[in-house]
């Protein structure tokens, strides 16, 4: 078998409604999935934003994924008034820091990621309850009832162009889940609205790139979504097949199906 792997823009992320601990959590949980194999057996890289590094033009190369630094995370939490006590992390008011992560039952990688986040945050004293739900209930909670605290889900880019992500970044968009169904709730969301519209209404690629780079920076700073990993796409092609040239977008192996042929030896044996 010939193997071929590429990074693709398929990202798994953690969505929070608890902005106070966002950045610290990214320090404490972000990179565990690709280190030492981990859940994805080394076939992933820590993610930093909505674009995979494989998308070389649109990826903002200035952004770097946070390394796994639980001590730094705890320090930042303490600077914000959180403090550990008897193995639990308490906020300024003395409340135990606890939240739930929902994900879709049946997705083993996401459930395992949730378990790893649970373990990592447990080291800081943060109690995490992992709740797999059937997909319909999960989507209902996230997109209709807004009755959840954090969710692990995956986005798949249908397009290399950032305009394909308008359904997420515009504050009025349907999938803008953190401040849903309203006008810009915050100044930075208003800024993203402006930049996304600007990049979509010009034909100058450099200007568009500049606008979308800024969007990626704002997302990294404000962290409405914690991007966890960029998964590799693995394609396996039989040695009997010639002409395979897997790409990074779906269908990775079959995009040139008209050029795939069996080699001479295989044809002769049939």
């Amino acid at each position: 078998m010939n193997g071929n792997k590429n990074r693709v823009g398929r990202r798994t992320f953690l969505r929070f409604l608890l902005p106070c601990v966002l950045l610290c959590l990214s320090l404490a949980s972000g990179s565990a999935f690709s280190q030492n194999g981990g859940e994805l057996h080394g076939h992933a890289q820590p993610a930093v934003g909505p674009v995979s590094p494989a998308n070389k033009f649109w990826f903002n190369s200035k952004l770097k994924a946070d390394p796994y630094r639980p001590d730094a995370a705890l320090e930042r939490l303490q600077n914000d008034g959180f403090h550990p006590q008897n193995g639990a992390l308490l906020d300024k008011a003395g409340n135990v820091v606890e939240f739930s992560i929902v994900t879709n039952a049946g997705s083993k990688p996401r459930e395992r990621m949730a378990v790893m986040v649970q373990e990592d945050l447990g080291k800081l004293g943060i109690k995490v309850n992992v709740v797999p739900l059937d997909f319909r209930s999960l989507i209902e909670r996230i997109s209709q009832k807004f009755n959840y605290e954090a969710a692990i889900l995956g986005f798949r880019n249908v397009d290399l162009d950032p305009s394909g992500q308008m359904n997420i970044w515009l504050s009025s968009a349907e999938d803008h889940a953190w401040n849903p169904q309203q006008k810009p709730e915050t100044a930075w969301e208003g800024e993203i609205d402006r930049l996304m519209r600007a990049q979509a209404s010009t034909t100058d690629p450099n200007q568009r790139k500049q606008n979308f780079d800024r969007v990626q920076e704002i997302v990294a700073e404000q962290a409405p979504i914690l991007y966890l990993v960029n998964q590799n796409a693995l394609s396996a092609v039989s040695a009997a097949v010639e002409g395979a040239n897997p790409g990074i977008l779906t269908p990775q192996t079959f995009w040139n199906a008209e050029r795939l042929t069996l080699n001479a030896t295989t044809r002769a044996s049939r």
Partner: protein
């Protein structure tokens, strides 16, 4: 009492009894046998093969599989009887009382039971679980899961009990007791309930493997016991994506354990049913 004859256990049933007791004893000793614990993640050794440190290797996030099997066995084997107890008590209340009261009560109870039995239990369980609060500890979630199983699993037993209680209500000795002046709760507690005991015991024992399998079904779907607690259902999920049994036969241990325990329960139950 009616139906109180007991048959001696044959060798297979004795063996089954020993197996169930041994599995229970080993699972209760998990703290000593598997000090690594079920939740600790050895990130440097995910999906590791068996070794001296990890007798059954590790799972995909590096947790000791032997410890998870022991703790999972403990959860499944201890909480399934608790669910069976809940469902048997409910069945006794609904079926036993309806059968004893007879008439409209019996017809109502049977109609309600039939309605309950016609519900797709798996979807019912999934729905009930989806509306539960999110922020509950894993231990509470385990208790809720098995409590829900118990609360939803009474209907089949209730049918059996209502029929038995109905037969007792029309029996000669109950008629004689009525003629002697016994009525109401005293008649039920002194004459009917003791004669329902063998049926209650049988329903209780029959329910245990049913609840073990129900939890396993939920676990396989990822809707069973909450992480990081293990159960047989969540352990069986590991078999998803297993490419070759030959290369990693140790991953089959939870499945083999489930099969052995379920077979043992069936052997024990055949003895129990024969004694009813």
């Amino acid at each position: 009492m009616l139906g109180n004859r007991k048959r001696p256990m044959n060798a297979a049933r004795k063996l089954a009894c020993v197996v169930v007791l041994a599995v229970c004893a080993v699972s209760l000793a998990a703290n000593w046998l598997a000090p690594a614990g079920y939740a600790k993640q050895f990130r440097e050794a995910p999906s590791a093969p068996p070794s001296r440190q990890h007798l059954l290797g590790t799972d995909e996030v590096g947790r000791d599989r032997f410890a998870r099997v022991l703790y999972g066995t403990r959860i499944s084997l201890l909480l399934a009887p608790a669910s069976a107890l809940v469902s048997t008590v409910l069945a006794a209340l609904v079926g036993g009382l309806a059968g004893y009261l007879g008439g409209i009560w019996l017809r109502l109870a049977r109609g309600f039971t039939d309605l309950f039995l016609s519900l797709p239990w798996l979807f019912l369980l999934i729905t009930v679980r989806a509306i539960l609060p999110l922020n509950v500890s894993p231990l509470v979630s385990v208790l809720i899961t098995f409590l829900v199983l118990g609360l939803l699993g009474w209907a089949a037993s209730a049918r059996v009990l209502s029929t038995s209680a109905d037969a007792l209500r029309n029996s000669d000795f109950v008629l004689q007791a009525r003629a002697s002046g016994l009525h109401g709760s005293r008649l039920f507690l002194v004459h009917v309930l003791p004669n329902l005991k063998p049926v209650l015991y049988a329903q209780f024992w029959i329910s245990i493997p049913v609840f073990i399998l129900s939890e396993a079904n939920l676990g396989i779907l990822g809707l069973g016991v909450a992480e990081p607690l293990p159960s047989w259902g969540s352990l069986l999920r590991e078999l998803e994506g297993l490419i070759s049994f030959r290369e990693e036969p140790w991953r089959l241990v939870p499945l083999l354990l489930l099969m052995v325990v379920m077979t043992s329960f069936q052997l024990l139950l055949s003895n129990q049913e024969a004694s009813v």
